[in-house]
């Protein structure tokens, strides 16, 4: 899938950083998850809320892939959160907001253009030196690793498979025996 937000260099830095945070993140497409969040408004409906009620992985129709349209109010909230307020009055009713895109641009720059070629020890040192950005990236890496695959990460459920988690199980659910027995 073409990237929605990152250029190739930025994507490579994010992917390499996520792999240090969560080994296996690259295979699971965690950077695609982050790209999908930061570029949510590049598609319509925006990739904010996956649909329902079922994913099709355990029966029923595959509804997760049909993202839920946003109201103008929802769009205001999510554009502000992602793009920042950018001096736009309707986004600044309680003051300016720094968006996720800007935090990523600055964070990626701080990790360095040569981040992908550094050895793992150096990469970890740079991540530790950028504690605020790394905390944000780790939040998103966890979401991309273990969130529903429709958001771009957890490719083919690989994040869930690693931990023997079945993910969304509707409409099959679990039998009473599976609930009550070891």
């Amino acid at each position: 899938m073409p990237q929605l937000f990152f250029d190739d260099d930025a994507y490579a830095v994010v992917a390499a950083a996520c792999e240090r945070l969560i080994p296996g993140a690259t295979d699971a497409g965690v950077a695609d998850y982050v790209d999908g969040l930061l570029g949510a408004f590049a598609v319509d409906p925006p990739r904010i809320w996956a649909g329902g009620p079922f994913s099709g992985r355990h029966g029923g129709d595959a509804g997760f892939g049909s993202f839920i349209p946003l109201t103008p109010m929802d769009e205001l909230a999510w554009r502000t959160r992602i793009e920042g307020s950018q001096g736009i009055a309707e986004r600044e009713f309680n003051g300016p907001v720094v968006g996720l895109q800007q935090r990523y641009r600055e964070g990626i720059a701080a990790l360095g253009a040569d981040f992908t070629t550094c050895d793992p020890e150096e990469q970890d040192a740079r991540l530790r030196a950028q504690a605020d950005f790394t905390a944000l990236l780790y939040e998103h890496a966890c979401e991309g690793m273990y969130g529903a695959p429709e958001y771009g990460g957890n490719r083919n459920g690989s994040g869930w498979q690693r931990i023997d988690f079945e993910g969304d199980v509707q409409p099959r659910g679990y039998t009473d025996e599976k609930v009550s027995q070891p």
Binding site: L21, G51, P72, M73, F93, A148, Q170, S180
Partner: protein
């Protein structure tokens, strides 16, 4: 105002009696097709990102922030953002709740008489008794569909009949913790739960998917509040207006004449009405009263949460807390003072204390778990071993929270919502009653976990003033049980509403949510607020 459990229950009663009702809901409608209320929208799903991280059920804390401070001396506010947000969506808090629907006990309505006053707390008896409410509890259980075992809890108040359904399948972890609790002399029992154990009310039985607390139910096995809302809409006499924010109740000559509201496009309108029912929850209801100039000095005061004591164990075996309906067992022993708790209360300088209902539970979803582990090479191993999910089990005690006049909701002086209205500001600090009770019962719950052969245990509380704002545990209470901001009573000088929820000052305004609670008990508030809403709506027709 409000389409949650209280508003839906009131609308059901009023429409059944032939009244015309308009239900205003500021959140979106993800629940049912307004043209064909028997058709469900299908927007709910087993999706951790959508429900626990991306504010799907609202309110979005950017659009509708709240503010918080512990004490007035902390300044205008110490924190702005998500302050105890209960869903702002059609169905309200009923959508995200895991549906534990216990009744209160007789003593819960007369704590002051039963146990005596507590210094610094505005403890009072309710102006009604358990017996007054029992018929409405029975009606509420039938309306919503509650599964339970009437004979299983020795502390339960008398009932006029059985639960509408038997309990559902017990979770494996709960079978272990319940057995350990029993060995130590406690009395765990199947949690009364508003999730179908068998097909009921035209809705299917719960299939144990595990995405229960904080999630909308994809198959609508949870009955609250879809059942009363559906019935009200199917009567043809109720109109539901989502994405409409009521900004003011219009009052003339001591009577409400209707409301002003802002529609989804931002346009303001007026709706006239002979009666106004407030069911926006114990934060938004007093906010609207204050926005409307209803200035009874107690509006917004006596805000209560439940003081949560979280006692968790690391276990040797996996107990798969992600299978089942979040909580299947509870125990009530800590709601009744015993010799040991009386000694501990005395040591703490209190005449008495008690805790609350204890939920036997474990963490169920992996994103939440993953964020607890450090990043790096050990992450994958931590997730596979899963000491903080698959091998974790324990208790959440919903501890009784003393009413204090200084704990309150008022209007923030500077922070606005997206529509330009002042947001609710919460000023809240716990009383030493809660902290002392939590310390005592936390130790006793830890004993049960050791009886379960725990490898290790950890105890935290919410709120905890020693943690920073913005963290999961912080000075802001996590409990979504919000109560008390328009307390009920017979005396207009010490209460905001009368025993039927009518404002003393403006009697055609009726409150049908947990704002009216006099004390918090240690039980989840939903069934009690639904019973009170049914009783209040019935009284409106006299």
């Amino acid at each position: 105002m409000g389409s949650g459990p209280g508003g839906s229950a009131a609308a059901d009663v009023l429409t059944a009696a032939g009244w015309s009702v308009v239900i205003f809901e500021k959140g979106r409608n993800h629940l049912l097709d307004l043209d064909d209320p028997e058709r469900l929208k299908g927007d709910y799903s087993n999706d951790e990102l959508k429900f626990t991280i991306r504010h799907f059920l609202g309110p979005d804390p950017f659009l509708e922030p709240r503010t918080f401070r512990r004490r007035e001396r902390d300044g205008d506010h110490a924190f702005v953002g998500d302050v105890n947000n209960v869903p702002s969506t059609v169905g309200g808090g009923g959508v995200h709740a895991d549906g534990k629907l216990p009744r209160f006990r007789e003593a819960d309505f007369r704590l002051h008489t039963e146990y005596g006053p507590i210094d610094g707390a505005a403890l009072a008896d309710w102006p009604l008794t358990y017996d007054d409410l029992e018929p409405f509890y029975a009606e509420a259980e039938s309306l919503v569909g509650v599964a339970g075992d009437a004979g299983a809890n020795p502390f339960a108040a008398p009932r006029s009949g059985p639960y509408p359904m038997p309990p559902g399948a017990p979770m494996y972890g709960a079978t272990l913790s319940a057995a350990a609790a029993e060995r130590l002399g406690y009395h765990p029992y199947p949690a009364p739960t508003g999730a179908n154990s068998v097909p009921y009310g035209g809705r299917p039985a719960c299939n144990n998917c595990g995405f229960c607390a904080f999630y909308g139910c994809p198959i609508h096995a949870k009955g609250d509040p879809v059942a009363p809302l559906q019935r009200a809409l199917l009567s043809g006499r109720a109109e539901l207006r989502p994405e409409t924010f009521v900004s003011r109740i219009n009052i003339s000559n001591g009577r409400a004449t209707g409301v002003d509201y802002v529609d989804a496009a931002g346009h303001t309108h007026t709706e006239t009405a002979r009666h106004v029912v407030l069911a926006a929850g114990a934060v938004e209801t007093p906010r609207l009263m204050l926005l409307s100039g209803l200035d009874h000095p107690l509006v917004g005061r006596h805000l209560m949460f439940h003081f949560q004591t979280l006692v968790m164990a690391g276990l040797r075996q996996r107990v798969h807390p992600h299978r089942g309906r979040s909580v299947t067992h509870v125990h009530d022993d800590h709601l009744v003072p015993d010799d040991r708790s009386k000694r501990a209360a005395k040591d703490a300088g209190l005449p008495w204390f008690r805790g609350g209902m204890v939920e036997h539970c474990g963490p169920s979803t992996p994103i939440q778990e993953a964020k607890l582990y450090p990043w790096g090479d050990a992450h994958a191993r931590s997730m596979r071993e899963s000491s903080l999910r698959e091998r974790m089990w324990g208790f959440t005690m919903q501890g009784e929270d003393m009413p204090q006049a200084t704990n309150r909701v008022d209007l923030d002086p500077t922070v606005r919502d997206v529509r330009g209205f002042p947001v609710a500001r919460i000023t809240y600090d716990s009383h030493r009653f809660e902290r002392a009770a939590s310390a005592h019962y936390g130790e006793r719950l830890t004993e049960i976990l050791h009886e379960m052969d725990a490898e290790w245990t950890v105890t935290t509380t919410s709120p905890d003033a020693s943690f920073p704002y913005g963290d999961f545990i912080s000075p802001v209470p996590q409990s979504k049980h919000v109560m008390g901001t328009a307390r009920m009573g017979a005396d207009p000088s010490t209460s905001v509403v009368d025993p039927y929820g009518r404002l003393h000052d403006v009697p055609n305004i009726v409150i049908a949510d947990s704002s009216v609670f006099v004390t918090s008990s240690g039980y989840g508030p939903t069934l009690t607020l639904v019973a009170l809403a049914l009783r209040a709506a019935t009284a409106m027709m006299r």
